[in-house]
Symmetry: C2
DNA sequence: AGAATACTTAGGTCAATACCTAAGTATTTA
DNA sequence: TAAATACTTAGGTATTGACCTAAGTATTCT
């Protein structure tokens, strides 16, 4: 059982859905819970005060963008996290932050140069 | 000019807005552009085929959740990235992924133990 | 001053979201 | 097999989101 190293190729536009899914506090909370251990629909539903069909809708959104998987055995459906999708979002954010940091460094260097030249 | 080291404390519920903001491709594109260099409203608007008020609305969303700042000088408003907010989202994602990975490791260890015991 | 520029505000449409209640269907359990 | 369990589907409401066009306001250029 390989601890998934490579991310699945992010289908174009998939990142929209991932960020969208994570913008809702209930869905983020579900992701947090599932990052600890898998859970059934009713176990999850017990934690929130909304009606089950509402929670179910959230679960569908999470599964739709690939953040979680589910499997039904008998009458119980169990959900679990699919970590590689979290990584898609994290990678995007990291890339932007790195670009930004590089830019700050360049600006620092530029200001330093200006300062030196100013001293002549 | 300090290259912001510490993130601003994420106001409760702010993370909703950050993920929400990043779920739109136009807004993500604006963030990418601004991570390279600041730009005015019309410079930004020139890149997208939507009407200016529509783009402006996107910019307000980005500024509303703190992902960008803007300043008006004369009749030109210039936008720039505020990197610490990207970090808020990135940190959350990283934390979830780390929890998940820890769980996978535990599961590996457990399976390994089962396997060994099976060999007795 | 008058025209051009760079946003800004107002207001309107249409689709998607987040909920809900009520009524299924499929699987155990008694 | 009847009742309980664990979802599922249907259908309805109210809000929010992403666009648009048209009509401002504030600055700068001529």
């Amino acid at each position: 059982m390989m601890p998934q190293t490579a991310s699945a190729p992010p289908p174009p536009g998939a990142i929209d859905g991932i960020f969208r899914a994570l913008s809702d506090p209930t869905r983020r909370d579900v992701v947090e819970r599932l990052s600890l251990k898998p859970a059934s629909v009713s176990e999850l539903a017990a934690s929130y005060k909304m009606a089950m069909p509402s929670l179910l809708e959230h679960l569908k959104v999470l599964e739709g963008c690939g953040l979680v998987h589910s499997e039904k055995k008998g009458r119980v459906r169990t959900y679990q996290l699919a970590a590689d999708r979290l990584k898609v979002a994290e990678d995007w954010l990291g890339a932007q932050r790195r670009l930004w940091e590089r830019r700050l460094d360049q600006m620092d260097a530029y200001l330093l140069k200006l300062k030196k030249e100013g001293l002549k």
